[in-house]
């Protein structure tokens, strides 16, 4: 009994963590700048590869994961300045440019690093509740997902950067007139978005097989979560992840993975039809 209850929670926590971690970076970049980052999966892959390489070079895993996150963050900042900034007034073009970027990065990695990369191995082992054994690391992932939401909350509501960022998001012209340096805010936002993608990769690195195209495993789920959530990470992503995790866990458990996957897409279509700006729009309208 206890085992089954905990198993249900564990399944939910696992899907929830995957949705939140893979979507957070994309949501920040979309919400802040209206840019749909098609290279999101490649930032995740960057986090994975840097983590694995640092780990094989002898760093302890947590430090290697920090490296993966930091490198993705820095690359994000640089790319923002070089290819994203000229396109702020053309959101569809930024979609194309990031798609091109993802082609270059995926295939470039294949040519330079090779078609496979040695894996790490999941730390912490398993534990038992009732009839089932579980991976302890999965609980770390769940905690990390909660942590990411907390971090985003803190960053946007409790820091100077966050206040400026929200001002820019609401009214870029006015914020600039008030002395907010918009370019710096955008660069940092993109960096944070990329860094969170890298963090997602760093966390999942020990649980997956590593190939250059692995970023695509995260893409569908992260897009779905962002679409359902709408433009705000705080109001949208978290409730969207909860809702989708419930839908997907249920469908997976009762009907199998393929129905879970198609069901997720159908949910997206219906939610867009009913809530045009996702949960964000719904919640802001209710509170307005």
């Amino acid at each position: 009994m206890l085992g089954n209850l905990f198993a249900g929670f564990y399944q939910f926590a696992d899907v929830f963590a995957f949705l939140v971690l893979s979507a957070a970076g994309l949501a920040i970049i979309f919400g802040m700048m209206g840019v749909i980052n098609m290279a999101h999966g490649e930032f995740v892959m960057c986090g994975v590869y840097v983590t694995a390489a640092s780990y094989h070079a002898g760093l302890p895993l947590p430090l290697a994961q920090a490296c993966g996150t930091a490198v993705a963050f820095l690359i994000g900042m640089v790319l923002e300045a070089v290819v994203i900034r000229p396109l702020y007034t053309r959101p569809l073009d930024s979609l194309l440019v990031t798609w091109g970027l993802s082609l270059v990065v995926t295939q470039g990695t294949l040519v330079l690093v090779g078609s496979t990369f040695p894996g790490i191995g999941t730390p912490l082992g398993g534990f038992r509740v009732g009839d089932y054994t579980f991976s302890a690391y999965r609980m770390v992932l769940f905690a990390a997902a909660i942590g990411v939401l907390g971090f985003v909350w803190f960053l946007f509501l409790r820091t100077r950067f966050g206040i400026q960022a929200r001002a820019v998001m609401q009214n870029p012209g006015m914020a600039q007139a008030l002395g907010v340096r918009r370019n710096r805010v955008y660069a940092l936002s993109f960096g944070v978005g990329a860094g969170l993608a890298g963090f997602c990769g760093a966390l999942y690195a020990p649980t997956m097989s590593l190939i250059p195209t692995m970023g695509s495993s995260f893409i569908v789920e992260s897009f779905v979560t962002v679409v359902v959530g709408g433009s705000s990470v705080l109001l949208g992503t978290a409730p969207a992840a909860v809702a989708l995790a419930v839908i997907r866990t249920g469908l997976n458990a009762w009907y199998g993975q393929i129905i879970g996957q198609i069901g997720l897409l159908v949910a997206v279509i219906l939610i867009i039809r009913v809530l045009p700006d996702g949960f964000t729009g719904w919640l802001t309208r209710r509170t307005a």
């Binding site: 749909i36 290819v83 000229p86 396109l87 053309r90 959101p91 569809l92 073009d93 194309l96 440019v97 798609w99 091109g100 970027l101 993802s102 082609l103 270059v104 990065v105 995926t106 295939q107 470039g108 294949l110 040519v111 695509s216 569908v220 897009f223 779905v224 679409v227 393929i258 996957q261 198609i262 897409l265 159908v266 997206v268 279509i269 867009i272 039809r273 045009p276």
Partner: protein, 354 residues
């Protein structure tokens, strides 16, 4: 009617443009006389995709609707063609019925999906996301039809490995009909492309086309000029999607094979790449650019092998960053500016009289 061939929505006009276009057409018609039959067939194959690109140009470039669903209709029509052709025993009867069925299926699906979205006031980026979701759902669905229970009549959908067993399009004629392949395929597709291109050009410059650009620029304003915006959007969505269906039928006929991977990612993003690269607001640019891009990507794949995808990605990034209106349109603008300067007209838009 014919004067609609030139107008504000299309680049190029007058004897110089049409003379050049005629020369290109003549060269294309003469090409099989001296070229390797393989190259003729290969060019014919490139033409297959251009219908889909023109459809997207119409929807996205002229009317502002970014559909990520071109391969959805491509796939529906392709599978529809296969099912009908196989079940009616192939030959002229089966394949012609298959062609009709594929196009009707694409058009009907576009009408239903379009009604759901357009009258549900889904627009902008969300239009793209809904069309992409539907497309991926179809690809996933078809991918799991491997079992024998997934058959329509004699035609097995056959999951990820794809459907086969349909004949190429066959016109009625002696000896069981004239099979549309190789050089004949090339000529018939040129004929089809010229017709579709000219018709779309006239459509773009007609009153209908004027309304489309008005909707693209500001849908609310267009509505307050008395235009039933949603009906126009639906009509364009059905037309553009049916063109994708035409590509789907032709592709299936060409290779006698279609799989779910022709529908899902990355296939679904290819039409957008072609049209964006070429210059989405112009039909001529899309026509020329799509062909050049197909040829270029294939050549890159053949000659640069491992680095092909890197080069394609870099090419795309460079185009977007440095030639924002699209590669072909950028060159077109340059030509227009040069000739206009000679005629001392202030700017190309001066030619907007009707």
């Amino acid at each position: 009617m014919l004067k609609l061939l030139d107008g504000p929505q299309t680049m190029g006009r007058g004897p110089a443009f049409w003379g050049a276009a005629g020369l290109v057409l003549l060269a294309a018609l003469a090409y099989p006389l001296f070229a390797d039959p393989y190259d003729v067939g290969n060019f014919g194959y490139f033409f297959v995709w251009i219908f889909m690109a023109l459809g997207l140009c119409l929807m996205w470039g002229l009317c502002g609707m970014l559909s990520f669903g071109q391969t959805f209709f491509f796939g529906l029509a392709g599978y529809g063609y296969g099912v009908i052709a196989i079940d009616l025993g192939n030959g002229p009867l089966g394949t012609m019925a298959g062609l009709a069925a594929g196009l009707v299926l694409a058009a009907a699906a576009a009408a239903v999906l379009g009604y759901f979205m357009i009258y549900g006031r889904i627009n902008g980026v969300f239009f793209g996301i809904v069309t992409l979701s539907v497309t991926l759902a179809l690809a996933y669905f078809l991918g799991q039809t491997a079992g024998p229970e997934w058959a329509i009549g004699k035609a097995r959908l056959n999951g990820f490995n794809g459907m086969q067993g349909m004949d190429p399009l066959t016109f009625p004629g002696p000896d069981g009909g004239i099979v549309l392949e190789e050089t004949l395929f090339y000529y018939v597709l040129i004929l089809g492309l010229v017709m579709v291109y000219l018709l779309l050009r006239m459509l773009a410059n007609s009153r209908f086309g004027n309304v489309l650009v008005a909707i693209r620029e500001d849908a609310e304003r267009a509505e307050l000029l008395g235009y039933d915006v949603r009906r126009y959007q639906l009509a364009v969505f059905v037309l553009g999607s049916t063109l994708a269906g035409l590509s789907g039928v032709l592709y299936t006929s060409w290779g006698q094979f279609i799989t779910p991977s022709s529908i899902g990612l990355p296939a679904a993003s290819m039409p957008i790449i072609w049209v964006a690269f070429s210059g989405r607001t112009d039909l001529t640019a899309t026509l020329v650019g799509t062909f050049l891009l197909l040829l270029g990507f294939q050549s890159l794949t053949i000659y640069s092998q491992e680095t092909a995808l890197v080069l394609m990605g870099a090419l795309l990034m460079a185009t977007v960053l440095f030639v924002p209106r699209g590669f072909v349109l950028g060159i077109g603008d340059l030509l227009a500016r040069l000739t206009m300067r000679r005629r001392r007209e202030p700017r190309p838009a001066a030619a907007a009289e009707v």
